[in-house]
Symmetry: D2
Subunit: 371 residues, 4 copies
């Protein structure tokens, strides 16, 4: 690939004035290999990025161009667009040999057009692009990402969910029964466009679920887990809106396979729980640590700590804590990510780093801002 | 009971300067039958309530006395104390014939000392008081509350959970498998005492679970559900701390009994979900409406709405929304209460109203402050 | 006036689905004299109020009608509309003899069309209505409100500011120099319509001034103060948006007149401040207490307490605290109101109560919800 | 100085487990010249930093030592301690030739022991150290900081205030009359220790002033302004607590000197304000731009924008916006900083960079996280 390994490159962002677009800029300003930005925005074409986002004053002054111009001058293109409009840009990039990372759902289903159509109501225009596309979850797909030309960057909820469940599938800890994923997102997950659900007096000081039983991230989560489990993994998923800017917390209930269940007359429902419960949780924690041993951005928390969104805020970390229910039948995994970073832009940059052979942590060394 | 049906009575609150104590005052100031307050506080004895809570200025000026004096002059006593110290006050009240409503966990287990001891590490001092005590969930126990002399007011999480599950148990909708209750509480649930977890910079803009798998509300929830189901109901319960002042949202996963499962080749996992899913959810919603037909404070939300904490804020309502997962195997119930009102003080006043034969809504007519 | 003193009356609200409209409903549901609502909404005509605001479920079910129908069947009409559209409704009400309370700025300037036109860019269509209208600040204008047929309900900022300054003007405490009013409002002040400034991720966790030096409440504040001072009172006013739902805090700097200044060689700038400072502040506090002695909704806080918005939340109180700067030259008054209650709907109801001869506190007995 | 200009140095932090201590770590982890940390904590000695702040997991694992050991092994020492305990550490550092940067108020008054004693109630133990100490506001004192051995890092409020006023003093824009500074801080300003004022349910969703007229930052602000003005600058300062984690917004009212006042019959109080107002504001904005032309961290916002705390969040920027009141008599300056960065730790690092001859922006390149 022509862009590979070059240092001092110009990166393109289509959809630069949405929240994910501006977060890509925020993170990439600290990336040692990026020397320039080429930005496109349909809604603010002709303006400059620092007029739309004045927090970039003195940091970046860049005009907002046409997408075609951005593609022409960039070594890699990020598309930070709504689902449904990325294929044309992917076509252009692919035909020019420019690596393309799509942050929408458009390239998350590879050749599985049926699922994409069922949930997004739209057919593929360029099936060949989907056939070569790679699902950009580095912890699952790193080798394929290295050679990718089109990357479908994972959704925010699927990232938090999959990272929390993959080791349990890989180690045979999970039974077949449906997993229950109860997750909550900060309001930036709704994007930059004002809407009643995100209006401060409506969103503040309240908690509410939405799209219960039918959120579009369900098939993406199932599909990702199936890649690891080698078979369909039924999932029940309930997203909530929480009164915070950033973060996704996923509390995941994984029925234990027989060999991992705590079986003893001593496990009666009691407090504090039986030491056997504690022991088994420790063993599972060990499997998780093992699974993520070489991952820079996944942290398995020590016994006694629960994952919390403020400890990963503004960073690319995914924190995971391991618990067992009091009866020893169900694994409870809690994962925390920043929806805008590991759940979107940070992961996209991680994918770029892998693809270009950069240090995987380049541009992603931001320390969590825990308060 | 001597105090019964009298209008214009003095009510006593022991522990008046904690959050539940002050919330009792806030609500009771609007109760038409209450003409006076007698307040006790260990930590602020000798001060006046409006010095501790200046938002009561011009509304209530009352000295903080000894508990014994309060008991002597009140027609009913609320104990808004930490768990573990209520028995002595209950003894005094009972022996004087003063109805006693305890907002701690001390009188929630009736004769089941074993469970109380297992989870709270303490034995009963006066088992006779527990034998006559009544668990104060009006929607389950109204008749017994009418004649009660000691009421154990339910916990906040158990209230939201039980109200969300009782109809499913009563109608045979729930299968035996463990229920999963994923719930989040506003920070007032932690009480008035400053502590690291409730320190603003730690609690704000973040979401975190706590006591995963071993919260002390587990046995109370199980026990309450068993009262309705007639058998043990295993429960997996995960509480979270959410960055809001008030409210508990419980998202409850109830595996459906065979007769209630959606069984059809048409229910494949898809979007939008099969109309059969929608139909079945409607039938279950009907059962819930039926179950709560005569309840003033439970609202079964119409199709398309999800329960949210801001719609019950500062009111005694419990909102419940009914959903099915996309495969039709699991009922997802979402319940929302204000933890300080229906989850504590409002329910205690509801119990008082029932016990004294007042209008059950007296003092509880506050309209939710949705913003 | 035909509607006067009748008990069990129907009240009309035009603009019932905006924030002030729905807050009027919330408060009036607790008003003993109101037996019915007649509601109009342009944007949701044909729907029912509980569909737009489901927190009213089980409390009020009412259709949203045409404004004309509302006027025809109501004993009094509140107009909760944007500034600029109220005159026609006022005309209709006035001609039918229905008292009309306008919550916009349309009737706040009486005969002073020039100021209205200068700041709102619009001329009066019916000057006669403005000539008979009364500015509805009860603490200033109670007698005139009693006989009013059209009331211009004060703005939120002007209410907090005027109540904080009036006693200083009345007692000759204030010097002529410009007053500086630095105020911050919760986000509900921006109304129900989503917009970038009120989008949760933009508004949360941040503080920002707006319309510095040129906010339209400036002439209203000046005019109100002039009514008391008997001469023009120049005002510098800076509003801010604070990350909270409700509340306006106004910190007001009032240069002291010579007779009230602390003049002593002992007042050098030091810590703790000179006892003379403390004494003088006490004397001023006494004047304030005196001024508001008979007011039910104004609370002068005792020495040592500062006004805070959470202590008036959801109530009709205005809390005022009195301080002096360290040099003794400037009075610092802090006033706190709930912008939706004393700053809008509560005050409108207070005006209705005065106008109809009801108890001035009817429907306004809500105790502040301090957490 | 021995430590100067060395690359790859170990930095010491005394008081590493407070909020400022941990924020120093967060920022310094990204500093290219720092290769190691030596950390001291009285309250958590023997633990490791990542146990106290688990968001440092995988980023820093370091034991918490005795202060003496830290001083022995560090090339520079930051003291992130409460005011009143720093002198002994300063003594040790000074005598060993280790540069010392104190983030408390202990070294902000130089030789002016009288003011320090008046406001902090304590005398100097080592006056010689104060005589050589430098007030670490780089925009005012850069040259003296270069050669400093003891730096008194400015307070958070004084930083925001001084940066907003210095150009007006330098250019003769300000008249002699007292400046009024109305400022609000996020809750991290109160530090890590839980206390009632910072308890989430007390602090959230509310705004409150504190220490009105007598905050200890008053003499520091006056003194700093006097350094620039060459004479005493009387200041009236009111701090508020705002419901946000980080940020200080200062709204500053500066009476204009005669030559800068807008004087014209055309400036009558009106809306929109006279074009003369706009012109004059532009001229003042030009002076501010000129004053800060070479400053990396001060941004004078263009006409039409107001400073807001979210645009500087987690960065070392100070944003300043320039406004005039409607009558043209008073300059209104709004400045925004992150209280933990430019208001404390970022500025301390900026001082270190100047002192060691590093790039002044090293470790401070974090882009504001505007949402």
């Amino acid at each position: 690939m022509t862009g590979k390994r070059q240092v001092g490159m110009i990166v393109g962002i289509i959809g630069a004035t949405g929240y994910t677009g501006s977060e890509l800029v925020r993170l990439l300003l600290g990336h040692p290999a990026i020397t320039g930005f080429s930005l496109a925005s349909v809604s603010h074409k002709g303006s400059r990025i620092e007029q739309i986002y004045p927090h970039f004053l003195k940091l970046l002054s860049a005009p907002l161009k046409e997408a075609e111009d951005v593609i022409a001058e960039s070594a890699l293109v990020f598309a930070a667009l709504p689902t449904g409009v990325g294929e044309e840009y992917a076509r252009l990039c692919f035909d020019k040999g420019v690596p393309y990372i799509d942050l929408s759902a458009d390239f998350r289903f590879g050749g599985d057009e049926q699922t994409y159509e069922a949930w997004y109501g739209k057919r593929y225009r360029y099936p060949d692009l989907h056939d070569v596309s790679v699902y950009g979850l580095p912890e699952l797909n790193r080798e394929r990402i290295r050679g990718a030309r089109i990357i479908g960057n994972p959704g925010c909820y699927p990232t938090g969910s999959a990272l929390g469940v993959l080791p349990a599938l890989a180690h045979g800890i999970a039974k077949g029964a449906p997993l229950i994923i109860d997750a909550a997102s900060g309001i930036t997950g709704g994007g930059r466009e004002p809407a009643p659900a995100y209006h401060y007096p409506q969103a503040a000081d309240s908690l509410t679920p939405y799209k219960v039983g039918s959120h579009r991230h369900i098939p993406e989560i199932s599909r990702t887990l199936a890649l690891c489990a080698g078979k369909a993994v039924p999932v029940i998923f309930t997203p909530h809106l929480a009164p915070m800017n950033r973060g996704i917390l996923s509390t995941i209930y994984v029925p234990l396979s027989e060999e991992w269940q705590v079986q003893s007359s001593d496990t009666a429902f009691r407090f504090p729980p039986s030491p056997l419960i504690h022991e088994k949780a420790g063993a599972i924690r060990g499997c998780y640590e093992d699974f993520y041993r070489n991952e820079a951005f996944v942290r398995i928390l020590p016994d006694g700590l629960s994952a919390a969104t403020n400890r990963v805020r503004a960073s690319n970390f995914c924190d995971i804590s391991i618990h067992l229910d009091a009866s020893g039948s169900t694994l409870i995994v809690v994962s925390a990510i920043d929806n805008m970073v590991k759940g979107a832009c940070g992961q996209a940059i991680q994918n770029m780093n892998i693809l270009f052979g950069f240090d995987e942590k380049a541009g992603l060394s931001g320390v969590p801002s825990s308060f």
